[in-house]
C-alpha cells in the first residue's frame, strides 16, 4: 500500500496554524444580528410573565422572542438519526425552565452592547419551584420535571415522564441469580461516575442567513449537519429542502457538538427578521447550557470460582440525564453493550436500570458514551476480585476475555436504542496489546508498588477496553468522486471532520483505491446541499463507515477510468490496466491527465462522477490494554500520574500518526475524568464550575507522558482492514488509575474523580472499605 498506512500530514494543518479563516465565527457573514439568550438563574421555575417592552424599545434591538412567540413543537436536540431514540421533550423555548442556564428568552440586536442591554431590560417574573437535585431521589419525586402534553417517545424506550424517568432498559442472558447463589466467590460493589464537560476550546457557534432564493442557510460548528437540518425543519415548521447546513472547520467536538445548540434560536431570528444572525456561546454558557456526560451509579455483582473464572456479571445502573433526555437510553445501553462482551465466558449476564430527570445541565453524547462509565465500574470490580482471590489482575483478564473467532450473545441483544446485530470477532489482538503494554510500563518490576521517597508511593494498575465501529443497521455514509481536467479529483463527503483528521484519512482511502497520490484528492465535506449524506461523526463511525463509502466510490471511479481509457485507446477493457498514472493497453497508453482533459474538452466528452454509499452492517470493536503508573502522596492524598501506556488494536491504521494522537487525546480526557474534572453544583442547583478556572481540564504539566502504540491488526470487514479509534482512548484511565492508586496505597475510592481529599480521607480511615 502506498497511501494507506502512511502518516501523511493532516491536509488542513498548516492552514490552521497560519490562522487563516476556517471556523464558523471566522467565516460568519457580517454584518449580522448578535443573538443572545437570557438564561435561568433558577434550577426549576415557571415563567409567570416576561415583560419585553423595555428591551424592544432599545435602539438596535431587532427582535425579542419568548416561549409565546415560538412554534410549539416537541423536539429532541440529541442530534441522532430518524426517528431519534431520545424522548422529544423540548421546545425552542418553554414556559418552564428546568436547570440553571436554561433558556428563558432570546434577543437579537445590531450590536453586542444593544443585545446585552436588551437582556438586562427583560423583566421576568419567576414562580420558583422545588428542584430535583439528587438523582438517586429523582424517581417518583414529588416534583415532576416534565408534564407537557406534547412530549413523547418515538418508539418504546421506557419513557415515563410523570415518574421523572426518561428511559428504562433491562436484558439478561442465563439465570444470574442462580449462578450467584452457587458461586464460590461473589463480589458486590457500587461505583459512581461524575458529570464531565467536553470543553472543546471552540465554543458552540452558529450563523444563519437567507440566501438569494430565500432559503435558510446555516453555518454551524456541528458533528451532525444532516440531523441539524432535519431537526431545525421540524422545530421551525419548514420543509427540510428549504434549509442548507454547512460545517466548516470545528474547534473540537467530542460528542458535545452532536447535539443541537444555538441553531434553533438563531434560525428563528433570521426567519423572523429576514436578517443574518450569529450566536456565539460564552464559555459560561457552554458550561451552563449545553450538555455533560451522564453521571451514573453502577451496582455491580461478579460471581466467580476460586481460580478466577468469571461465572456471572450483573450490572445495574442509574443514570442522570439532567433536565432533558438527550441520549438518555443510548448512553445507558452502551455502558453495558460496550463493556460486558469483553468477558464473554460467563454463564449468565444481566444489565439494566433507569435514566432519570433532574434539574441539572442535560446529559448528552460525550466520547466514550457510557462505555467509560461501565468500564470504570467493571474494570475496578475485576481488580477488586483479583485482589480478593490473590490473583494477578492481568491473569484474571487473560482467563476471561474474548478472543478472535468468538462471540457474545450481547452483540445481538443490545444495539443503541434498539436490538443489536450478531457478530463474530474477526480481529482481536488483546493478548499482544497486553504483553506489549506490560513491557512498556515495566509491570514485572513495578507491580504492585514501590517506595518513591518519604511519604510517596508509586503503584501501577491496568484496565482493558473495547468500543464499537459505528452503529450497525443505522449509520450510513456516502461519498462522491468527481474527475477534473488535468487529473485531479474532488472527493465530496458527508462525513464530518471535527478536528480528528477524517478529511485526510478519507482522502488517503480514495487515493489508495485509485493508486494516485493523496494530494490529487481535493476534499469538500459536510454540506447538506453539496455533498452526499452522512449520519454524522459519532459512535466511532467515520473511518469504518464513511471509509467504506469512499472506497466504493473510488472503486467505481477506477472502473470508469478503465472503461474510458480503453475506449480512447481502442482496446478491450479487459486488456487495459490503470496504475494511477496512465491507462495502458496492448498498443499504447494514455495518461490520467490527458484522459481526464480529453473527456471534458475534446473526445467522448462526459463528466465522470461516481458515488458510493455504505450502511454499517457490523460494529467490530477496537480493543485497548492500558497501564497506569501513579505516585500517591501519603501526607496529602494527591495522585500524580507518572506514565500511562496504551496499546491499541484499531485494525490497520489508515494514518498511524493521526490514529495515535486520537488515542493520546482520548487518554488525556480520560485522565481528566479520573483526577480533576467534575461539574459541581451548589445547594439550589447553581453551577459552581461555570468557567475554566473552576472546571479544570488537564494542563500540559498534568500529562507528563503518554505512551501509545498501535498493535499490528487487520479487520477483514473494514476498509483496508481498519476499525475505529476515536473513542476507545478515553475509556480506561479512570479504572486503570483507580487500580494503580489501590496498588500503591491500598485504598479504593469508588467515586470519581480521585481527588486528593477523597484519597486522603480513605487513607485516614485506614484501608479500603
Amino acid at each position: 500500500m502506498n497511501e494507506v498506512g502512511k502518516s501523511l500530514p493532516k491536509i488542513d494543518g498548516v492552514g490552521l496554524a497560519l490562522g487563516r479563516p476556517a471556523y464558523t465565527d471566522d467565516l460568519a457573514p457580517r454584518p449580522a444580528l448578535v443573538v443572545r439568550a437570557l438564561r435561568s438563574p433558577h434550577a426549576f421555575a415557571r415563567l409567570k410573565s416576561i415583560d419585553t417592552a423595555a428591551a424592544e424599545a432599545i435602539d438596535g434591538v431587532a427582535c425579542v422572542l419568548t416561549w409565546r412567540d415560538v412554534p410549539r413543537v416537541a423536539v429532541t436536540r440529541a442530534g441522532q438519526g430518524h426517528p431519534e431514540p431520545s424522548p422529544r421533550d423540548r421546545f425552542i423555548l418553554d414556559e418552564y425552565v428546568r436547570h440553571v442556564g436554561d433558556e428563558v428568552a432570546v434577543v437579537a440586536a445590531d450590536s453586542e452592547a444593544a443585545a446585552v442591554a436588551a437582556l438586562a431590560a427583560l423583566v421576568v417574573d419567576y414562580e420558583v419551584l422545588e428542584p430535583v437535585l439528587d438523582f438517586e431521589q429523582a424517581e417518583d419525586h414529588a416534583t415532576v420535571l416534565h408534564s407537557e402534553p406534547e412530549i413523547h417517545e418515538n418508539f418504546p424506550i421506557g419513557f415515563e415522564p410523570t415518574r421523572n424517568i426518561a428511559s428504562a432498559y433491562a436484558m439478561h442472558v442465563g439465570d444470574v441469580d442462580k449462578v450467584v447463589q452457587d458461586a464460590e466467590v461473589v463480589l458486590r460493589r457500587t461505583y459512581y461516575t461524575q458529570a464531565q464537560q467536553h470543553v472543546a476550546l471552540e465554543p458552540m457557534v452558529c450563523a444563519t442567513w437567507l440566501d438569494l432564493h430565500g432559503r435558510l442557510n446555516v453555518l454551524t460548528s456541528t458533528q451532525t449537519p444532516w440531523h441539524v437540518r432535519r431537526i431545525m425543519a421540524r422545530a421551525l415548521e419548514m420543509p427540510v429542502g428549504e434549509i442548507r447546513v454547512n460545517k466548516p472547520r470545528i474547534g473540537g467536538g467530542f460528542g458535545g457538538k452532536q447535539m443541537i445548540h444555538g441553531e434553533l434560536l438563531c434560525g428563528l431570528v433570521t426567519r423572523r427578521t429576514g436578517k443574518a444572525a450569529r450566536m456565539v456561546y460564552s464559555r459560561r454558557e457552554v458550561f451552563a447550557a449545553t450538555n455533560t456526560r451522564h453521571p451514573m451509579r453502577m451496582d455491580i455483582t461478579l460471581a466467580a470460582d476460586r481460580g478466577g473464572h468469571l461465572r456471572a456479571i450483573d450490572m445495574q445502573a442509574l443514570s442522570d440525564t439532567g433536565a432533558y433526555g438527550e441520549h438518555a437510553l443510548t448512553v445507558f445501553m452502551v455502558a453495558g453493550a460496550k463493556t460486558l462482551p469483553l468477558y464473554n465466558k460467563v454463564e449468565a449476564v444481566r444489565f439494566g436500570g433507569k435514566t432519570v430527570y433532574t434539574n441539572r445541565v442535560p446529559g448528552g453524547a460525550f466520547r466514550g458514551y457510557g462505555a467509560i462509565q461501565g468500564n470504570y465500574a467493571l474494570e475496578s470490580a475485576l481488580a477488586e476480585l483479583a485482589h480478593e482471590l490473590d490473583l494477578d489482575p492481568v491473569e484474571l483478564r487473560r482467563m476471561n476475555m474474548i478472543a478472535e473467532g468468538e462471540t457474545s450473545p450481547i452483540f445481538a441483544i443490545m444495539g443503541e436504542g434498539t436490538e443489536g446485530v450478531a457478530m463474530t470477532i474477526d480481529s482481536c489482538k488483546l493478548p499482544a496489546c497486553i504483553d506489549r503494554g506490560m513491557e512498556l510500563i515495566g509491570w514485572g518490576e513495578k507491580y504492585p508498588r514501590r517506595e518513591a521517597g518519604p511519604e510517596k508511593v508509586r503503584g501501577v494498575g491496568m484496565a482493558l477496553a473495547m468500543q464499537g465501529s459505528g452503529i450497525p443497521g443505522i449509520d450510513m455514509a456516502a461519498a462522491t468522486l468527481k474527475l477534473n481536467d488535468f487529473g485531479s479529483f474532488n472527493l465530496l463527503i458527508g462525513a464530518t471532520d471535527l478536528g480528528t483528521g477524517s478529511d485526510t484519512i478519507l482522502a488517503q482511502i480514495a487515493a489508495e483505491t485509485l493508486s494516485v497520490s493523496t494530494d490529487l484528492i481535493k476534499v469538500y465535506s459536510s454540506d447538506t446541499d453539496r455533498t452526499p449524506f452522512d449520519t454524522g461523526a459519532y459512535a466511532s463511525s467515520t473511518t469504518y463507515v464513511s471509509g467504506h463509502a469512499v472506497r466504493t466510490a473510488a472503486q467505481k471511479m477506477r472502473a470508469a477510468l478503465l472503461t474510458e481509457g480503453a475506449a480512447m485507446l481502442g482496446c478491450a477493457e479487459k486488456d487495459a490496466v490503470f496504475d494511477g498514472a496512465e491507462v495502458r493497453g496492448p498498443d499504447g497508453a494514455i495518461s490520467l491527465e490527458d484522459l481526464s482533459t480529453r473527456l471534458l474538452y475534446s473526445q467522448n466528452q462526459k463528466q465522470l462522477c461516481t458515488t458510493g454509499s455504505h450502511l454499517c452492517e457490523k460494529s467490530p470493536p477496537p480493543y485497548l490494554a492500558a497501564f497506569a503508573e501513579v505516585e500517591v502522596d501519603l501526607g496529602t492524598g494527591k495522585v500524580d500520574l507518572i506514565d500511562f501506556v496504551a496499546v491499541v488494536d484499531c485494525g490497520q491504521a489508515i494514518n498511524p500518526n493521526l490514529a495515535r494522537v486520537q488515542v493520546e487525546g482520548g487518554l488525556a480526557q480520560g485522565i481528566g475524568m479520573a483526577l480533576t474534572e467534575e461539574v459541581r453544583y451548589g445547594k439550589r442547583g447553581t453551577l459552581l464550575t461555570g468557567d475554566m478556572m473552576t472546571y479544570r481540564i488537564p494542563a500540559r504539566q498534568d500529562i507528563p507522558r503518554l505512551t501509545v502504540e498501535l498493535a499490528a491488526s487487520h479487520e477483514p470487514s473494514g476498509p483496508f482492514g481498519a476499525k475505529s479509534v476515536g473513542e476507545i482512548g478515553i475509556d480506561t484511565p479512570p479504572a486503570a488509575i483507580a487500580n494503580a492508586v489501590f496498588n500503591a496505597v491500598g485504598v479504593r475510592v469508588r467515586d470519581l474523580p480521585l481527588t486528593a481529599e477523597k484519597v486522603l480521607m480513605a487513607l485516614r480511615e485506614g484501608r479500603a472499605k
Binding site: L658, V661, Q669, R700
Partner: protein
C-alpha cells in the same frame, strides 16, 4: 475612541469601543488568527504578543495597546508555517483551534530561552491548553521544530 499602535510591523490607527478587549478588536478588524476560548485568561487560544511578550488578548483592554506593539499570527507567517509543518508531521494538529496561540507562545519562547529542556518548555507553554491532543505529540513537534531551527 482612537488608538495608534504598531500591528505586525505597521503603524495602524483604529477606532475602538472603550470596553472592547484586544481580542475583540483584532477579530472585528479581520485578524481572526487569535481565537476566543474561555474569556477568563485560562486557555491561551487568544495569545498574541504585546511588546514581544505573550499575553491573553481576551484579558487586555484594546485601549491599553495604544502606543504599543502587537504581533499576531498574521505577522509571523513564516514561523507559523514551520511550526505548523512540525505539528502536522507528528499528527499533533487536531482541531487546530489552539495552534495559532501556541505558535505565538513558541515565537516568544524562542527569543527568550536558549536550548530549553522539556520542563522549561512545559512551563513556558503552560498557559496554552489543548483539549484534543493530550500534549504529548505537541511536545514531540516542539522539540523537532526547535531542533530543526538550529
Amino acid at each position: 475612541m482612537t488608538i495608534v499602535f504598531t500591528l505586525n510591523d505597521r503603524e495602524v490607527t483604529w477606532e475602538i469601543e472603550p470596553t472592547e478587549t484586544l481580542l475583540q478588536a483584532l477579530r472585528r478588524n479581520g485578524l481572526v488568527g487569535a481565537k476566543e476560548g474561555c474569556d477568563t485568561a485560562s486557555c491561551g487560544v487568544c495569545t498574541v504578543l504585546l511588546d514581544n511578550k505573550p499575553v491573553p488578548s481576551c484579558a487586555v483592554p484594546a485601549a491599553r495597546v495604544d502606543g504599543h506593539t502587537v504581533t499576531t499570527v498574521e505577522g509571523v507567517q513564516d514561523q507559523a508555517r514551520r511550526i505548523g509543518e512540525a505539528m502536522a508531521a507528528e499528527g499533533a494538529d487536531q482541531c487546530g483551534y489552539c495552534t495559532p496561540g501556541l505558535v505565538m507562545s513558541l515565537v516568544a519562547m524562542e527569543k527568550e530561552l536558549d536550548q530549553p529542556d522539556d520542563e522549561q518548555i512545559r512551563s513556558y507553554l503552560a498557559g496554552n491548553m489543548c483539549r484534543c491532543s493530550g500534549y504529548t505529540s505537541q511536545m514531540r513537534a516542539v522539540r523537532k521544530y526547535l531542533g530543526g531551527g538550529r
